[in-house]
């Protein structure tokens, strides 16, 4: 068990070094693709930290992402960019905490609808305020190389993997798995189920907001439809499910092929992207209910003779 852990840690370290060195060895187009991959790795992995064990499907990614982009957009005149990223994280965590307290006592279905509605509502409110004040979007005055965005996201990804690994070993992580299996048993075992869920929901909230804050200068100009695009929430869910949420590295396995496929599809069929997104969702749910992780574990169990855990 211990040596297994060292092995995983070593593998993670090697992958991290490769990820960091990548921009020096590949072309501009690949770096742009890598920025997207890193962004979705960050979003999908943090999404799965909460939704994996609890089975609560959150569609709030866009809401928090948008919150982050607007933190940068509105804050740049007053505060340095480097300060705005953690600030967005704190705001995201706080708002996720409030939303969690209000909704996580509800059953999963209500939660899904609420999170979807939240992103849309925030978008509509900002649009309304902008229309009322006559303001259009926000111009972002700073600019970075693609590789800089990439490295920031890789750093955030490394942080999330570390946090996820620590949670997996903690009482909180164990509590979440029990809650996901049977909330009634969890409560009667002495677990504060509401608090556990709220605490963990704050992580994807904070991470999506930080990601939004990082990415804002890349857009140059932000307006509600860019910052709060609902497509983002669905993409994150699809990628996480494609990879599988049973393991920390699961979403990553989904993000890489899906990002490449998506790049190709959105370039070739720019008007049918939503349709294709829906189709891919159906295919994944039907063919790979446990994602690539489930598939791999099944193959391992069949050929390796061992168990899948």
């Amino acid at each position: 068990m211990k040596s297994q852990e060292y092995k995983s840690f070593g593998t993670a370290l090697v992958l991290l070094v490769i990820a960091i060195l990548l921009p020096w060895f590949v072309g501009d187009f690949a770096v742009t693709l890598a920025v997207n991959m890193a962004m979705f790795t960050v979003l999908a992995t943090s999404w799965a930290l909460f939704s994996g064990p609890t089975h609560y499907i959150s569609l709030a990614t866009a809401a928090f992402f948008g919150l982050g982009t607007y933190t940068t957009g509105l804050g740049l005149d007053h505060l340095p960019y480097w300060f705005l990223i953690p600030l967005a994280g704190v705001l995201g965590a706080l708002i996720a905490g409030v939303i969690g307290l209000a909704t996580l006592r509800l059953s999963g279905v209500y939660f899904v609808i609420f999170t979807l509605g939240l992103a849309e509502m925030t978008r509509q409110i900002i649009t309304f305020v902008q229309n009322a004040t006559g303001q259009k979007g926000i111009l972002i005055s700073i600019w970075f190389e693609e590789a800089t965005f990439y490295w920031m996201l890789v750093a955030l990804a490394a942080l999330i993997f570390l946090v996820g690994w620590l949670i997996g070993r903690s009482r909180l992580g164990f509590a979440l798995r029990i809650i996901g299996d049977d909330e009634e048993v969890a409560r009667h075992s002495g677990i504060n189920t509401a608090l556990s869920k709220v605490l963990l929901f704050m992580i994807p909230g904070a991470v999506a907001a930080m990601t939004g804050a990082i990415m804002a200068p890349r857009y140059g100009y932000i307006e509600p439809l860019i910052a709060f695009t609902p497509m983002l929430s669905f993409q994150v869910v699809i990628m996480a499910l494609l990879g599988g949420t049973g393991r920390l590295w699961g979403p990553l396995v989904g993000v890489i092929p899906f990002s490449i496929l998506w790049e190709f599809l959105s370039a070739s069929f720019p008007n049918q992207t939503t349709l294709l997104l829906g189709l891919s969702f159906l295919v994944i749910v039907y063919l790979l209910p446990q994602g690539f992780v489930g598939l791999l574990l099944k193959i391992k169990a069949r050929f390796g003779g061992g168990r899948g855990y």
Partner: protein
């Protein structure tokens, strides 16, 4: 029996569901180290009573005390932490986890909280007690029915609860398993555990319970030493008469 040895008391505990009174002004005490049988015909309010004690349901009126501390206004997880552990009428396993992890849930979050090696040691001790030490790595789906019941029992025992609530733990077992099950609970009794047992199996009630509280239509109709209660004419009329035993 002095006041100090009373572990659990119900005082006028009442539960209404709309117009239906499922539990009606129920009073009884559970003394340390005793096995109390909570018996009565179907629908008499036994399971509702267990749900009130464990916090699955809130009392409409009255109070429930654990060692003179009011617990009936606490949420289920706090009641569990204070030392009330329960099993469920229909066994509830954590399907994605191993037997070991299922029991670990009780060790990590229960009344006496443990973590790491210490928790593992305690879990293995409980698995030995219920006879499942060799199935620690098994998944719940690979277990027989009685073994899932054993896992559930180990999960509630591992946190050293002050009171153990067993909701028809022996139901659905075949005759051999039933014998094993009774022997297992007998062992817990010999260890001095305090147990409230909701049960239909008469043999089990006779051989396990020190005292019985008999319920009918939400009310307590008799209470006392098992042999005496079971020969009470009113009990026979209400319970044995209606049930076909």
């Amino acid at each position: 029996m002095g006041e100090s040895s009373t572990v659990l008391s119900l005082r006028g505990a009442t539960k209404r569901f709309g117009g239906l009174v499922a539990v009606n002004e129920l009073d009884f005490d559970v003394t340390e180290h005793e096995v109390l049988g909570l018996i009565g015909p179907n629908g008499s309010g036994k399971s509702t009573t267990l749900n009130l004690i464990s916090g699955s349901l809130r009392v409409s009126e009255g109070e429930i005390l654990l060692r003179d501390q009011l617990i009936s206004d606490l949420p289920a997880q706090k009641i569990a932490r204070k030392g009330v552990a329960r099993t469920f009428q229909l066994v509830r396993m954590l399907p994605s986890m191993s037997v070991m992890e299922n029991v670990m849930a009780g060790a990590v979050f229960g009344h006496r909280r443990r973590w790491g090696r210490e928790a593992e040691r305690q879990v293995m001790k409980m698995l030995e007690l219920v006879g499942l030490e060799r199935r620690a790595a098994a998944r719940p789906s690979e277990l027989t029915y009685i073994d899932t019941k054993r896992v559930e029992l180990a999960r509630v025992l591992v946190g050293d609860p002050k009171v153990l609530l067993l909701d028809e733990w022996l139901a659905g077992l075949n005759p051999t398993e039933l014998e094993e099950g009774i022997a297992l609970i007998k062992r817990l009794r010999e260890e001095g555990r305090t147990i409230v047992l909701v049960e239909h199996v008469m043999d089990a009630i006779r051989s396990l319970c020190d005292r019985c509280v008999v319920m009918s239509s939400g009310r307590k109709i008799a209470e006392g030493p098992t042999a005496q209660v079971l020969s009470d004419p009113e009990v026979i009329r209400a319970y044995l008469g209606e049930d076909d035993a």
